[in-house]
Structure formats: C-alpha cells, structure tokens
C-alpha cells in the first residue's frame, strides 16, 4: 500500500513526465493530422495520475476511519493495473525506438 509521502513523490514524477509529453505532442503532431503518439501518452499519463490520486485519497480516508477497506483495495488494484499497463507500453515503445536507432545505415 503506498504511503502518502511516497505516493506524493510518484505523482510529482508522473506530473513532470506529463509536461515533456506536451512538448512532444507539439513536435510530433505537426502535419500528422491525427492523434499523435505524444497526445496518447499524455492522456494515458494523466489518467494514471488521476487514478493514483483517487486511490491515495481512499487510503488516507481509510486511515482517518472514513472509508471502507474494500474501496481502498479495489482502488489500489485499479491503479496497479493502470501503472503496470503504462510501464509495459513505455518499455515496448523505448525498445522499438532503440531497435530503430541501432539499425545500421
């Protein structure tokens, strides 16, 4: 279970990740005329951050004796799935990028 202080650091990191993604969206989206990869990444990151914030709020409410333990468990497991999916997609994309970069020209 993420403690609030660790979680706060993690969200700050995710929020910092969102900003370069905005820059990336501007660069990559120009002339493409569709949803760019940067846009998609930005959306995914913000939804993951949002879910993390929700589960953290539930955890804090439970520690304050206001929320149900069952709500905390479902919220945390939802966030866990969202973060794992995001990390897996990121790893795949970076792997593909490195494959292209190491291509002999």
């Amino acid at each position: 279970m993420p403690t609030p202080s660790i979680a706060a650091g993690a969200y700050a990191n995710v929020a910092r990740l969102t900003d370069p993604a905005a820059g990336l969206a501007k660069g990559a989206g120009e002339g493409a005329g569709g949803t760019s990869f940067g846009d998609m990444l930005k959306n995914v990151l913000s939804s993951v951050a949002e879910q993390g914030r929700k589960s953290d709020a539930q955890t804090q409410a439970m520690l304050g004796g206001k929320a149900d333990m069952i709500d905390v468990v479902t919220a945390v497991s939802e966030t866990e799935v969202a973060v794992q999916t995001m990390v897996a997609v990121r790893d795949k994309v970076i792997e593909a990028y490195q494959n292209i970069m190491s291509m002999p020209i």
Binding site: I70, V73, T74, S77, E78, Q84, A88, V89
Partner: protein, 136 residues
C-alpha cells in the same frame, strides 16, 4: 475493462457479506439482552436480506444489502423470579437468538466472503497474465 468490472462486482459481494456479518454479530452480542421493564419484550433476532441491484455507473448487476428484517419467532421463556425483567409469574423472556443458527450463518458469511475474494484473486491473475504478453 470487463475484468475491472468483475472486481467491482465481487467487491459489492464483499460489502454485502460484511454487512451481514455485522447483523450476525449484533445477534450474538445481544443473545442475553432482556427487557428493561418487568414483562417487556427482549431483543428480537435480526435477519439480513440481500437484493440484486443495477449499478448504472458500472453497467452490471451488483448485490446490495436489503432491509434488515426481524425474526418473528417466539422468545425463549425461562423461569427466573429474581430477575428484574420477570413478569408476575416469574417468567423472563429471552431473545429468540439460537447460537447454533448464528454460528452456521456466520460460517456461511465467511465462506461467501472467501468466494468473492477468490473471484478477485482469479481476476487479478487473468489481468496479470494478459499484461505478461505485453512485457515479454
């Protein structure tokens, strides 16, 4: 995602069974609660009911704890003339709580809770296995 939905549905089962557990613990705790005044009625056993409800946000039928009803069966009568709640004949009405029935109900609630937990665990495993494809 459908798998997250089934986790939420199983969570509604957990919530309902924990509510039932609360009713059972009230019954067991009040098994000896007699009336305050002489000849009055003691604690009456409560029964939890379940009902299926449509969760519009989730788009699925979840289980909810229905109204908690009272058990209309007869009270136990014991002859204790010295008891403050005894009537003119020395009889005291004790609650219609049978510890054996409560124990069986409790075991039932426990098993249902475990079954819902198993659904959550199995669903989590399915999600993880699917994600493993993306990772490899």
């Amino acid at each position: 995602m459908d798998l997250m939905k089934s986790i939420a549905i199983a969570a509604s089962g957990l919530r309902a069974q924990s509510g039932r557990m609360q009713v059972i613990s009230e019954n067991i705790a009040n098994a000896d609660s007699t009336a305050q005044a002489a000849g009055g009625d003691p604690y009456r056993r409560q029964v939890a009911t379940f009902q299926s409800a449509m969760d519009n946000a989730l788009g699925a039928r979840v289980v909810k704890l229905g109204p908690v009803r009272t058990d209309p069966s007869d009270f136990q009568v014991k002859n204790e003339p010295g008891h403050p709640a005894a009537d003119a004949n020395g009889n005291v009405h004790y609650p219609n709580v049978n510890p054996l029935i409560e124990m069986t109900d409790m075991r039932d609630a426990q098993r249902s809770y475990s079954a819902n937990l198993n659904v959550i665990n199995a669903t989590r495993t399915m999600i993880q296995r699917t994600l493993d494809i993306l990772k490899s």
